[in-house]
């Protein structure tokens, strides 16, 4: 208690770091989640090296069960399921992360501007955000794919736009409370520009809830992409994605159960791992229920 070498008021970074470590050591779910995520990232990065076969190479070895040559079996066109799932990891993680990156950038900009400037700008932005908030993200993504069409870029755009409202709301509510803080007042009094006040003084202090929201959103984006692909509204019919592999295998699940089980297992493991890590971050960053799903 009488530690004078480290004053938490002036030295928040080491405190936050030790809090990360302390909560991680206790949290077995988070440890498992991180381990699984690392495995999937390795799988995605080295997919071409790790895959035993070309994911799209058709063979006459159709719907054969699990074996040493095909650890997860083959599909109705004789393609190796393990290789297809490994390549699908790339698409899933890429879309999950890029989608949230775009949604985060646009959403935070909107939320900061609305919260800081107030007035008619706030009214205009928040009316739109509230409108979008009334609908589930996945439904918005489906609507947008209906308008833009399918394909990698369109799926990313549709999912990104669908997640903007979540970030805008978090950023706005943080800005509203931080705007009244004394150090923000001080920055204004010193004559710093509005942009500088927003990005140098307000944004860094709003980071914790945004990190938690982003983590949760990555899992939703991965689920969203898988659902779109499963419905035929995804990337395209040739790129193996988890949702598409499940959709392709759907007609054969009674003869070849592995086609219905493993691609979904991959989705579930990644999403579960992200949820475990998200839960730990919420704890470690001390973010209360400010973050909605």
């Amino acid at each position: 208690m009488t530690d004078t070498t480290q004053n938490p008021e002036t030295d928040p970074l080491p405190r936050r770091r030790s809090r990360f470590r302390a909560t991680l050591v206790r949290d077995r779910k988070a440890q498992a989640g991180l381990a699984v995520l690392i495995l999937f990232v390795i799988g995605a990065v080295f997919a071409p090296l790790l895959s035993p076969f070309d994911p799209n190479a058709m063979t006459l070895d159709m719907m054969s069960g699990l074996s040493w040559t095909h650890p997860l079996g083959t599909d109705d066109l004789g393609r190796d399921l393990l290789s297809r799932i490994l390549h699908g990891t790339r698409v899933s993680l890429f879309i999950g992360i890029s989608t949230v990156g775009i949604a985060l950038a646009i959403g935070i900009a909107l939320g900061l501007v609305a919260g800081y400037f107030g007035g008619w700008l706030d009214l205009l932005i928040m009316r739109y955000i509230d409108l979008q908030w009334a609908f589930p993200n996945f439904i918005i993504a489906v609507y947008l794919v209906a308008v833009f069409g399918t394909g990698l870029l369109n799926v990313i755009v549709a999912l990104s736009l669908a997640f903007i409202d979540d970030f805008a709301r978090v950023a706005r509510s943080m800005t509203l409370s931080l705007r009244e803080e004394q150090y923000v007042d001080a920055a204004r009094t010193l004559g710093f520009s509005k942009g500088r006040t927003l990005f140098i003084h307000i944004l860094p202090n709003a980071v914790a809830p945004i990190i938690v929201q982003a983590t949760v959103s990555v899992s939703y984006a991965i689920l969203g992409e898988a659902s779109l692909s499963f419905l035929g509204l995804g990337v395209d019919a040739y790129t193996p994605t988890w949702g598409l592999i499940l959709a392709d295998g759907r007609g054969f699940i009674t003869q070849a159960w592995w086609l219905g089980v493993f691609p979904g297992l991959a989705i579930m493991l990644v999403v579960l791992a992200i949820n475990f890590v998200g839960d730990w971050l919420r704890d470690a960053l001390d973010v209360r229920q400010a973050v909605g799903d």
Binding site: P136, G149, L233, R250, I253, G260
Partner: protein
């Protein structure tokens, strides 16, 4: 109350308008796509005249809006060319039966699970419920649907794998077709509600009036169902409103696994066939369901918690 109602109507108008204009900005010409093989420029122009697409955008909007208010959403431009309202009238009861059953199944699982894990906090039961909730939240609903088909339809042959039977065919045929899809949709919902009930109940059990209830000598059963649970349900109900949206988006995907021609399947087929009148109609109906279920939850909230009504 009145203001809330007017707000909902404005939201619906905004959605209808957005949908109309966004579909008009779609790259590519739907009429040219429709007549891909059969149409030269003359046929395309004639078709456009027939559909009113040669007039200005705002005239089109006014006509469309007027027709919509009269319950006319146009006709499908693909296959049977059925009236969109007929297609939707057939689809709506299916999606609503499915969502409602999913809702009931989810509550049957979530309420006891939430109570158990709150009253036996940090026990093995609590940990198990929490892990199962995490699993439920992480499992894609369409994958769960496939697993259920593999186990209960293909192997055990207890329930049908696809299709829908209207309630008029009898209770069991209707129910048996809906159980698997309803479980697939309801699982994630049930996980959210169970977690919510747990944390809300833990909060309530700490309160002074719980101590008073125990001091009065009430049985644990009466304390739980007479005092604790009703109060713990207040925050849960708002989440139910948000999560109801989850049920509908779940239905959109899962209907496609079970070949149930509800709103979801109509919407997705419409998109895949570029059948814009059908997409437009399905989007409107799905949106209306969200807007009005949110409205109902708001009103319900006032009924349950008098403090909100007074404000």
């Amino acid at each position: 109350m009145l203001r809330r109602l007017i707000g909902s109507v404005i939201v619906m108008w905004a959605v209808a308008t957005l949908v109309f204009f966004m579909l008009r900005f779609v790259p590519g010409d739907p009429v040219a796509a429709m007549l891909a093989d059969a149409g030269g420029p003359d046929e395309i122009a004639a078709m456009k005249r027939q559909l009113g697409l040669d007039r200005s955008l705002f005239v089109q909007y006014a006509i469309w809006f007027q027709n919509m208010l009269h319950g006319d959403l146009g006709a499908s431009i693909y296959g049977s060319r059925a009236a969109v309202t007929d297609v939707l009238a057939e689809a709506i009861p299916r999606t609503l039966s499915l969502s409602l059953l999913a809702f009931v199944i989810a509550l049957i699982i979530a309420v006891p699970a939430g109570i158990l894990s709150a009253t036996r906090r940090n026990s093995a039961t609590d940990t198990t419920v929490s892990l199962l909730a995490f699993l439920g939240l992480s499992m894609p609903d369409f994958w769960l649907a496939i697993l259920l088909i593999i186990v209960f339809a293909a192997n055990l042959q207890w329930l049908p794998a696809i299709g829908y039977a209207p309630l008029a065919d009898g209770l069991w045929p209707w129910l048996s077709h809906l159980i698997l899809p309803a479980v697939a949709i309801g699982t994630a919902f049930s996980a959210i509600i169970a977690r919510m009930i747990r944390s809300s109940l833990l909060e309530v059990l700490k309160s002074d009036y719980m101590r008073t209830a125990r001091a009065k000598g009430l049985t644990p059963w009466m304390i739980m169902f007479g005092h604790a649970l009703p109060n713990a349900m207040i925050p849960v109900i708002t989440v139910i409103g948000i999560a109801f949206a989850l049920l509908i988006s779940g239905a959109v995907v899962v209907e496609n696994v079970f070949a149930i021609k509800g709103l979801g399947r109509v919407l997705i087929e419409g998109i895949l066939n570029r059948d814009y009148p059908v997409v437009q109609g399905a989007v409107l109906v799905v949106s209306a369901i969200f807007v009005f279920s949110n409205l109902i939850v708001d009103l319900l909230y006032g009924v349950i918690d008098p403090r909100i009504r007074l404000n």
